[in-house]
Symmetry: D4
Subunit: 233 residues, 8 copies
């Protein structure tokens, strides 16, 4: 096993260039806490190899450095993402639903949307359909059911995934957000709510982790695509 071929040591990082092969998607850069220089250096290595890179939790300074170094880079500010898609990933059949409870949850929901699209998925958005006005959710029930996987983003008490799970038969990935105050404790209330969901089969990712939920949904959708086309995924 020639491990030395499977990562590139660039000093501050050992870039895992074998990841696409092993896990289905190339390595994604978590921007938070990295210098613009580090972000650019790692991005260049990955783009060189794969023609595509995604940076999450990016900020304006990183976006500017990326724009200067890789002009094709695209900055999704609300989603806090930067993407370079010189060689876009192949499009996948079907759609993924991104459902969110309130207006304040949008940045996390948009992180999920950008990640899904960069990974080749078509997304349908269902925003501001929280349980305090349950008729808004019931009105779009059939449209959500028509998707292949559902990412549900909610803060406050995190009740939306339970309501969705009671109406829908597709895989549901819940993202608690840090939206709330007082005894919300930075997203803990929504996280616990989702982990204790009375809706069967809801799975959960970390607080504000729109990327992680999107990754999981994309994995499911890619498999379905392969199954429909008679490929092993």
């Amino acid at each position: 096993m020639s491990d030395h071929l499977k990562f590139i040591d660039i000093g501050v990082a050992r870039v895992d260039v074998d990841r696409h092969q092993r896990c289905g998607f190339p390595e994604v850069i978590f921007g938070q806490g990295k210098t613009p220089e580090d972000v650019v250096a790692i991005s260049q290595k990955i783009v060189e190899r794969h023609g595509i890179v995604l940076i999450t939790r990016a900020n304006d300074e990183q976006a500017e450095a990326m724009a200067a170094a890789i002009p094709a880079s695209q900055y999704y500010r609300r989603a806090r993402c930067i993407a370079v898609e010189a060689a876009p990933l192949a499009k996948v059949d079907g759609t993924v639903a991104v459902v969110c409870a309130g207006t304040s949850d949008l940045p996390v929901a948009e992180e999920a949307v950008v990640t899904l699209e960069v990974f080749g998925n078509t997304v349908t958005k269902f925003f501001d359909v929280g349980v305090a006005g349950i008729h808004r959710l019931l009105a779009v029930r059939d449209q959500i059911e028509a998707c292949n996987a559902v990412v549900v983003v909610a803060g406050m008490e995190g009740a939306l995934p339970s309501a969705v799970a009671g109406l829908i038969s597709k895989p549901i990935i819940a993202v608690p957000t840090s939206v709330g105050y007082g005894a919300h404790f930075g997203g803990l209330a929504a996280l616990l709510g989702m982990l204790n969901s009375c809706g069967s089969g809801v799975t959960v990712v970390n607080i504000d982790n729109g990327f992680g939920a999107a990754y999981a949904a994309a994995t499911i959708n890619r498999q379905l695509h392969a199954a429909r086309h008679g490929q092993s995924s």
Copy 2:
């Protein structure tokens, strides 16, 4: 101010016999952690004075001691309550709704029911209407709206009060239960969920505190009764 008239010192307790006058209901005994002898002794002082007593968090041993000492005492086992109603409180107009999410929340819901009834209220029960099957709640929406106050009992993620609050215009008092497992942490998940409810105006009592919710609902209902009859409550 003649404080010496307002409580009776029986050694292990200073029975607050003025409480009915000040707060609208006589003192209620919290049974947990008290010996059967203490429960009987305190009950006798209150019955002597008011002709009525309610004991919550009671156990079989206390129920037997009470039955022996005060034959008229009634034991509500599922609700863990003992009541003596030699001189029942006056009946109040209208009904209070007790709504609960799942079968496992019944003991807490029943504690609320018994308390409300001993305090003179008529109760309508809406049991097992959790959000994972939202049609069960929608089916009884109008019946709940017709009540004067709503006690909502739920464990798990504690989402039911939010859904009810989005459908109903009456005061909603939420009771988180310790029903759940894993990251439920003894009711913490449901408690945080209810405190962070996206439904406006939901108020919350302690975990498993069916009595406290019933007390609050009874206070509201008594006021309404007085208003309707032109009395100052």
Copy 3:
């Protein structure tokens, strides 16, 4: 059921214009984390429909944007609220008491006051009557008892609702504040204190949630008004 009539999709939000009908009060906007543009856009939709809107957790920037867009908007800075009352809600009989423990709890208490007044209630304020000088509370006991509902705001150990509950027969809604330091943990100490109150029937809302407590008190007061006037509430 024509769900399409019951909310208006304005892109960033699905405004719940049916809420007044269902729940008794029109939708209130939680300002925190929303852009001034979003606040204005949502407010305009609600004012158009109902002639009235309330924004809580508002900031100066939002207040300026609102003043520019809707000149009739009023900014209550200490309470962090903005209100437009082109078509004020009908006045309700009786008064609601807002009691607070210390000077530092004023912003939360004032949020409750503004909410109650916008919702048509008359408010009496009892400020700085904490338990460390219990004579200050005893001095106003009868005035509080004369109100229809009591909102009690306190930080530190959150003991005030227990003391009030032992003196008063009206519904008591407790608001823990984040006022404290050290082992106060952002309001947790006061929250736990209130949830564990030895005063029967105290109900609790989220930390610093003056709005929520006011909403609950307004619901009670509106019912009483209807009962007195022989209306179904």
Copy 4:
């Protein structure tokens, strides 16, 4: 909408008989905290309607009552499950992997296995492959990759899903267990570890919730089956 047809009120519960239609699987009974009588009564209603029922967190007493009432019921003691499969669910193509870190995690892993099998899936087990002996995991890497979905069960620091996620391209659903001691805090350490996994796309269910993870994996597998067979799932 005829809601009255969609659940059956049996007093202690409103059995959600419409659930199979809406969500893809019939209602599953959470046994914990229910009396044997309640378990039997609810089971009978579901079996009557669907010919199949699954009870999780079951105990010996419930198993005996079920055996008496429904002789065809099967008790999986280590998994704490009871199943009646008079009309088994249709078999689904492909296999689901259940991976577990240590011998002590077996009850939770077995709950996942029984649930998956009752829901029509074929399961391959990879037990005792924790990260402290990483060669044990590397030895079965290709076998796991060949499955359609992976349930990973681990206690202690909950590191196994991260290691699996770095090797495998299939959906990974992580189940933290309460196996550990000291600062494990009943599964909290494993839960936090999994939520913070450096492996992308790991989704998590509640502590010890083998059922929930199995449900999610079964949902994915059923979709794949339908895709392969050209059905809409």
Copy 5:
């Protein structure tokens, strides 16, 4: 410094026989988790040297072993204490108040009482004077003020020390108890309440630590005695 004289190594323990000299009271044995044999062995060493010993958190088995080994030993069952007073400590002037909120706090309050008495203090008890009936406390205000130090024992929200501190000028030592349920979290609510007391100068000991509070009060009282008698304490 001849350290070898200052403790006695008896295998399972190094008995600190110098402690009385250094700290004013002889070593006290914490009974919890010790075998009856260990308790007896350590007690005998201390009694031999000082003629007196106190064991806290004792149980029936230990009490029997002590009674057999040292017939003069006295078991205070409600207080969970065993004392041998062959050579009682000298009596100290003045009294210490032990105030407690409710009947359920009695075991902790009694532990404080027994400790104080063994240490030579006269105790006055003020039991069941919680803030939900504040008149009961006001009625004994002057009697408490007449004491030299005040131990205040309370569970629930732990509000009693704040109320006492606002009425009394003497040192106040607060003991939170684990009496409560739901979100009391084993005494945490009362502990946080007392640490955040709005009453100045309240000091706090560990949950249920009646002994610690008594020790602190006894230290103060002994100093006062010495001061009155012109001794250096």
Copy 6:
């Protein structure tokens, strides 16, 4: 009882002018979160009545406003205190020790020192004598024992009070500080350490609450003074 004489309502506060009489010291102002104007207004009322005021948790802005309004006011910047001593409190016999573990604990220790001095006590400081160099503490053991009460300030693991308690026979009041990092959780580690001290009789105040510890120590010292002079304290 003429409650109207015992506090002065100045709008933002009800100044408790009876407090000196009831509790032994005049009301102290907690500066944090108050506007300079409020601080000045409340200070003026207290100075008018008592000739003395102490403000804790004060900032530069408040100090400037006080200097302008009451030129005699003194600002202790490291201690974050402002004092006006137009009519200083009478000096008390004996000294109080303020012991602290490290240089970083100085602001809290100095708050204790200023409070003690304003309250008429003489203070001896023992700074930077933490347990990691126990010889530094042993070197001052006799000097500490000579004081009437000991305030011990420590961050990190909060072990200093235990060590002091094992060497000293005087009342020990422990102040945990928020000095630490990582798993210190804002002072929680030190707080828990002190509450669980193996040194008998240690009492504890809130994190960083130098004032509270000083208040308690001053109460003890004042009593001793009175006892020595044959006064009732």
Copy 7:
């Protein structure tokens, strides 16, 4: 790489027989939660291969099953360990100190002692030398310094490692125990205390994990032995 040689799959476990080679010690069995049969089965595989096995957190039932199956097995009841030493590990030079704070910490300290001895180390015990009587620790300072590594076991506030670290130059491994009550929260107080130790270089293992500390100390001691004898460890 022939992974199939490096572990033995016995159904309930994959025994890691390569571990001795990789990590220096053979696999140790964590007994808690395993059936006696499982313990015996796994033990037999390891003894077969290595002639030695250690089981920690063992109980009486497991000890009996082991005694029946492997007569040479030795049960250390206080330490909750079972050992089979048919082929004992080679003795290592020098000694390891096991220091403990109080009598109640003995089971954890003994687990460390047994583990160290089975791993070939000589142990010196220093029991009951907690900081509340610091002279007991000072009296043995030089003896501890003469050891190669120090395991320090303490409950309560966990201060002992800090005091030891200030006196000793050898590696110190701290074990917090769950000994304490009230706000000890099952060992959390001691754990946080040790993690925040002001003594430099203290490292910490999980609550009650005497085995883990012993393992770390044994690793150090084995290296020293090898160094002294000119071997690569």
Copy 8:
């Protein structure tokens, strides 16, 4: 024992100049929260005595003040350390490994590196070898095994020490970092993960405490050096 010779009282601190003698390394200054003046003053005293000083958690302002006062001082900005090595400590044989999981953990890893080097050790760095790409770790396994001690730095779920412990026979000291988000709770997730490591013998230091881990590793390495050279360490 002449304690007065063993520390130097400079007002804000009692510099422990005996520490090198007792503990093997001179006192190290924790820079956080200290003024530049205090840092310089304490540094000068230590340099005067020992010719060397290390300051951790230093900032730019302190570095400038040090550069001005002691020109030989060196500022390691990423590591947040300042060192003066006028009389460097003697070099020690062998190397210490510093292993870290991701790029974001570098500041903590570098603090460990600087500390180790100032203490006379040779360091080999293995950065960015987290478990999500386990081949990166396997590739350097033998190089790590060749070191005398291993410091492992990781954030997120803190799984790296477990993987290392399963591959390596040398002492492993784990440092959890605060790198993570959402339910990472400032490093708590990584800390709990490491404390619950399934890898035997892993010891843990406080969150982000690279210095503490380095200190412990240096203590081990110094002992080995002494053993190899036939010295008592």
